[in-house]
Symmetry: C2
């Protein structure tokens, strides 16, 4: 089994490392416009050979597209153009409706499996890749009926090898849920960072006082725009919907404080505490 | 050196455990209205003896008040009433102006040191206490000039034993900074939890899809109202100020999305990314 990794960064690199560790594959081609990432990935044994687009794809049994969602959507069609009826293509993107829509009429559509591993960090690049990243996390497969059974089965073996558990949903539902569970967290965190940077002019004080709580809430604000602008663009409507709700939830806190209505403030907090029961199921 | 711990929960318990581990003290009285916490603290060797308010205070060299900030402010005066000129009292509260103001004319004011360790978790109670909680974190001392030199020195030895580094500031500045660095993070996290709970009715989906990013951003939303309502009440003006700024920062994201102005969205994210350089100094 030969892999073709398009995008040798955090996610592509972490998948390759794990699949090699577990002997799922012994050889990975790396395809990346970023020559520096490609060399780094080679040095770190994430990939075994740098390849051009056509060679890498045509020689791989499984092609994993792990680049920002807008680029993935753009190139997927060209990738499918190059493969035969035995090869399988999967992506790892955080938005799904757009990419599925883009290739719905492609003759090789059924060789593609729309995949999204629910893991990531605020870091990027092959340096950040680790083989123990995914264990225990959810792996979403979207629109399974639109993929060939053998393609689906291969991706399910990948999921199993990554020690993830598969969840199946359609692309629209996926994009709604990830707006709630993932995308809004990033906006909140970015906005929190900007709030503190705007109001707290003493950078040394931020650094010195930053508690673990602050660091944890603001961690995602380190995430790169190259990845996140395309996600917000593709999932704009859902994200806007959740963002409006979030602003209105914050206004409740504001109102409770302004009116010194501390019973209401307590109610809001008690309600938020319910997340403990849900996350610790 | 005998300790008197008023409030045998997460913070009081963690301090006692560490000070015992490092042989700073060999005996701690526990004072707590919550009999269950008190028994648990005894069982876990956080304290050595349960004591009533008067006995516990009068027999301790150092009294540590580790209860919610409104209760701490209420009882501090009674604590100071009971001590002699050798004993020292410190608190651990997340707001400082109120407590310092409340006892500014007390004849034993100079035996009190206003202290705030920049560490906590979303958990509470003696069960959550650990001896390795504070290392490497900042320990704020407020209004040092209002404390006796020997009292200040004792608390500095506590800070050193906890492996924290001291930072000195006045109570007003402390409350402004913690509104930015800590209090707003909690409101953001509570509001995010409420957003998701409001919009995402499928609890199983939250649980299954929750990525590490979401869990990290929403972690603080598990924090208890018993601790946090008093903090928001005491630091209301500063928190409101930062909350207004935070809402206006979120509106910028909203506007960028509504107008599909993705260059502006990128600018907002690039600015937020600056937090990486500050936190990783």
């Amino acid at each position: 089994m030969k892999l073709g990794i398009i995008g040798t960064g955090l996610i592509g690199g972490s998948i390759a490392l794990k699949l090699k560790d577990k002997n799922f594959t012994h050889f990975a081609y790396g395809i990346d416009q970023n020559e520096e990432n490609l060399n780094k990935a080679l040095e770190l044994n994430i990939i075994d050979e740098k390849a051009d687009f056509r060679t890498g794809i045509q020689n791989s049994d499984l092609i994993i597209i792990a680049i920002p969602v807008d680029s993935a959507r753009k190139i997927l069609s060209s990738v499918l153009d190059l493969i035969n009826e035995k090869q399988v293509v999967m992506d790892v993107g955080s938005t799904k409706s757009g990419i599925v829509e883009a290739i719905k009429n492609h003759p090789n559509r059924k060789r593609f499996v729309a995949f999204h591993p629910m893991w990531g960090t605020e870091n990027s690049g092959p340096d950040a890749a680790t083989s123990d990243s995914f264990a225990g996390k959810a792996a979403v497969i979207c629109n399974r009926d639109e993929s060939d059974a053998d393609a689906l089965e291969l991706v399910e073996r990948v999921i199993d090898t990554l020690e993830m558990h598969p969840i199946y949903m359609n692309a629209e539902a996926h994009d709604v849920h990830t707006a709630y569970i993932s995308h809004i967290s990033h906006i909140t965190s970015y906005a929190l960072a900007n709030t503190v940077l705007e109001k707290e002019r003493e950078e040394d004080t931020i650094f010195q006082l930053a508690s673990s709580g602050f660091s944890s809430t603001v961690r995602l604000a380190k995430s790169h725009p190259e990845m996140w602008v395309p996600i917000f663009r593709q999932n704009r409507d859902n994200v806007l919907d959740v963002l409006n709700e979030h602003i209105s939830q914050l206004r409740k806190f504001k109102s409770a404080l302004e009116k010194e209505n501390f019973e209401y403030l307590e109610e809001l907090i008690v309600n938020a505490n319910k997340i403990r029961g849900i996350l610790n199921q």
